[in-house]
Symmetry: D2
Subunit: 114 residues, 4 copies
């Protein structure tokens, strides 16, 4: 069905051998998941402090632009942690499952928006 | 002094004629400031929901990558609101103040990180 | 008319005081123009060598990706030279001509594609 | 050895079963190689016409910025053709060769510069 991800279409155990709990069977490696979550928590805190800085009528545009760039860098870092886990656990193993085309199409679709 | 912004180095009234309250005199146009703050509040909420989604061991890498890209798009939107305000209010008026070089150097420094 | 640039719509002498030869009156500073041209010439040579490398059936994907990224970096460098010249010569002087809104709209339109 | 690519370090036949002619054995799929070469040839021609346009003292900054962005989009397109071929032919088959870690490290290194 349109909109389903490779993880939903395939019914297989996780490459890590973890038992995944629902119909999603290409689970994110636990280490990537926890490291990405920590980075997102930090980015969210930074974003909240930028938002609050905008309550000050004297805040300077260029300072805010710099802060937003720093958060963008932190989000890139979180995305790279997840991308690396995905490449190692799901893309590099695709030929052993036979879904090379689907998994690469799906990933190229995400890169389009980078 | 190193680290000071053009706004701090120059002692002048805001191009909008607003009375700015402290030593910062190149104030952000109020409309840009409020619109950017709203966008950052939405991005922060989205980021928090992504972080929570990572507590689920069944979350799929590519879904998270897509969500992070959406937040980055929202931050680009907020940065564009601020950049437009800065260009109109501070850069386009630089020749009337005589700080063209400083204000352009400062802006190019920010673009380097885009 | 749609598609015309600010330079075409405005009939004014160049901010550098150069006499511009045709209807385009916001001329690029000569120094920016020459430096950008040199960088583009180098990027074109690099691009040609990458294209030739693709005639070798043994060329490796990742080596080509790295080379393309290097050319993208060189093009960013050329674009930054031009952007800086534009900001200093045309944007920073907009308030003295009265076309702040047009020139900023035009520039933001370009940034959308960055 | 530092600087060697995965293709050089591994001595294996191409995933396409092509006989590769030298020590490089992770060859680019021929179709990707030809399509990327065509796109680079077009980008080079476009770049040359931009460089020539800079000989005209009346060329307008924003027009040149737009043209450079168009070339960058074309280079992104060529890079995506190569990346897709690499993911399908080399990354998705890594677990069958046992070089998952090396091939993913190498790819993430390239992404850092995107």
């Amino acid at each position: 069905m349109a909109g389903e991800t490779t993880a939903e279409l395939l019914d297989m155990t996780s490459p890590q051998g973890e038992s995944c709990h629902t119909g999603h069977h290409l689970c994110m490696p636990e280490d990537s998941r926890k490291r990405a979550a920590r980075r997102l928590a930090i980015a969210r805190g930074h974003l909240e402090s930028i938002r609050r800085s905008l309550e000050d009528p004297d805040v300077y545009c260029v300072d805010v632009l710099r802060q937003i760039k720093a958060v963008q860098g932190a989000l890139d870092g979180a995305a790279n942690v997840i991308l690396r886990g995905h490449l190692e656990s799901h893309v590099a193993t695709a030929a052993t499952r036979g879904d090379e085309k689907e998994i690469v199409d799906e990933l190229m679709e995400v890169f389009k928006y980078i």
